[in-house]
């Protein structure tokens, strides 16, 4: 992994985010914040007839890490089935981000995944959600 967490790609994504916005007709939308810093992420997802992610958009405010993570995550799950989304692992996302994060920043990175999963499960499953509050 990169030593500096602000590698070019992170800054690029912060400046030019992917899938940023809202979906007019989403199958589900979910919004959640990181109370430690007040950052908020909302994710809208639209499934196709095979229960695969047809389209996804995110919105919200946050630091470069949480914003880049949201871009990378939404890009990654396009075309995945609902089941695949539900079982998408936090380590996969951290690998996509590809920089070494401190514990405090891991929470920033995982905010979008937390929001995505809460939406995918239809509600926050406490056991599942807890993993994001106490990563590793």
């Amino acid at each position: 992994m990169d030593e500096s967490i602000y590698r070019e790609q992170i800054i690029d994504l912060y400046e030019h985010p992917l899938n940023r916005g809202h979906l007019e007709t989403a199958d589900w939308s979910y919004e959640e914040d990181n109370p430690l810093c007040g950052d908020v992420i909302r994710i809208d997802v639209k499934l196709d007839e095979n229960q695969r992610v047809a389209d996804v958009a995110w919105s919200g405010e946050g630091c470069a890490i949480s914003q880049a993570a949201a871009s990378l995550l939404t890009e990654e799950i396009k075309g995945k089935t609902l089941e695949e989304v539900r079982s998408f692992d936090k380590d996969e996302l951290l690998e996509l981000i590809g920089v070494k994060l401190s514990m405090a920043r891991v929470k920033c990175a995982l905010l979008s995944l937390k929001v995505l999963k809460a939406g995918a499960y239809g509600m926050p499953d406490p056991e599942e959600m807890r993993k994001f509050d106490n990563p590793q």
Partner: protein
């Protein structure tokens, strides 16, 4: 003026590097201060040579531990000019002081419809205990708003502080705006309507002379760890007759006079509020911190902090698109919370850290203040007796580097 280089030599951690080749620039004293050697050594000595449980023992160690622990209480009492050491209650931190008052005084005295007043710039420690108390007693919690420049909106005080108000609890110094509030005036206003006044002095006692008798406050709270002392110890000051009329908070050993299986009676002050084996070493450590600060002189500490804060506010004002929260230098303590357009506080803190500079990013346990200011979070640099102008210069250089990395 304080000799900052001599002072720096007293703090072991300031001799460390943050990263190999990168000196530590600690600008996070408002969250928790560093500890000078005499404080560390007082605790070290206690554990190596006089450790024992206090108050009940008839042997040399217990006697020595008791003398050290109670002697510290007396010096702390003098430090804030309490009339009597019995008015100085050891607690874990400022937070516990508010909870003690809420549980003990609050439940014994509040009726549905009674009001409590805080301000909109409070730390959560001076908000949440009263919210819980309000919910449990039916009392109403009101708040005094602040102006855009971070000073209290005193024009609204007369509507909010009324005959219904039983308690007015406010901070002497805001941990975000840095605002130094008109403590004496606010206490007088509270007393005029028959309310008690509680002062959050967590950001005051470490930084300026505090005289509880001159202020005439009824309660005052502060933490040891923000004033060169250890974690795990804080103080609730209360006027004797008020503390005496209050029921105990926690029950257990040391706070009782007599226990039978049918019922118990309470010990005298201060022990009535100190159940169980106390944080003996931390009390002794706080005593050493008070000695250290007394030796420097709190007038000198205050003057030096004003000097370095002024310097910092000017230096920061040179950074483009950087916005500092709070009032002008004349009315503030040694904190500077700021935002930079296009750069999230988390990213600022992270990038500064790589240059060895420790600041804080977030809401600093003052979510309502941030919410009302229309921002989620801020970056906060805070200054203390060991902060140099060179360190402030490094802060500015590092901020500009951070902006460059973000192509701003």
């Amino acid at each position: 003026m304080l000799d900052v280089n001599k002072i720096r030599a007293d703090f072991p951690i300031l001799q460390d590097e943050a990263y190999p080749g990168v000196p530590l620039v600690y600008l996070d004293s408002a969250a928790s201060s560093q500890k000078p050697l005499p404080v560390i050594e007082a605790m070290n000595h206690y554990y190596r040579h006089t450790n024992a449980n206090v108050h009940r023992g008839i042997h040399r160690l217990s006697e020595e531990a008791t003398n050290a622990y109670e002697g510290a209480r007396e010096r702390i009492a003098r430090f804030i000019n309490a009339a009597d050491a019995a008015e100085v209650i050891y607690v874990r931190n400022a937070t516990e002081a508010f909870n003690l008052v809420a549980y003990s005084w609050g439940r014994a005295n509040l009726q549905p419809g009674d009001e409590m007043l805080i301000t909109a710039m409070e730390h959560h420690a001076n908000i949440v205990p009263w919210q819980i108390l309000a919910e449990q007693t039916g009392a109403v919690l009101r708040h005094l708003p602040f102006l855009p420049d971070g000073r209290l909106d005193l024009a609204q005080l007369p509507q909010l502080l009324t005959e219904k108000t039983r308690l007015f609890s406010f901070t002497a110094v805001s941990n975000v705006f840095g605002t130094v509030n008109p403590v004496k005036q606010l206490i007088e206003a509270a007393h005029q309507v028959g309310a008690l006044a509680m002062v959050d002095a967590a950001q005051a006692v470490p930084h300026m002379p505090v005289d509880v008798q001159a202020w005439n406050c009824d309660f005052l709270a502060f933490s040891g760890h923000k004033m060169c002392g250890p974690t795990g110890i804080g103080i609730l000051y209360g006027k004797r007759h008020i503390l005496e009329a209050m029921p105990p908070f926690m029950g257990g050993g040391d706070m009782i006079r007599r226990v039978t299986l049918e019922g118990s009676t309470w010990a005298d002050l201060p022990h009535k509020f100190e159940a169980g084996t106390p944080a003996i070493a931390a009390g002794i450590g706080l005593g050493a911190a008070v000695d250290y600060l007394t030796h420097l002189g709190m007038e000198n500490v205050h003057a030096y902090e004003q000097y370095i804060t002024n310097y910092a506010l000017e230096a920061l004002s040179e950074v483009d698109n950087l916005q500092i929260l709070g009032p002008s230098a004349a009315q503030r303590g040694g904190v500077a919370a700021f935002t930079i357009q296009g750069l999230h506080p988390h990213d600022i803190a992270e990038l500064l850290d790589k240059d060895g500079i420790a600041i804080r990013a977030g809401h600093h346990c003052a979510m309502p203040l941030h919410q009302l200011s229309g921002i989620n979070s801020t970056a906060r640099a805070s200054f203390y007796i060991h902060t140099t102008t060179e360190e402030v210069d490094k802060l500015v250089i590092s901020l500009n580097r951070a902006k460059k990395i973000f192509r701003l």
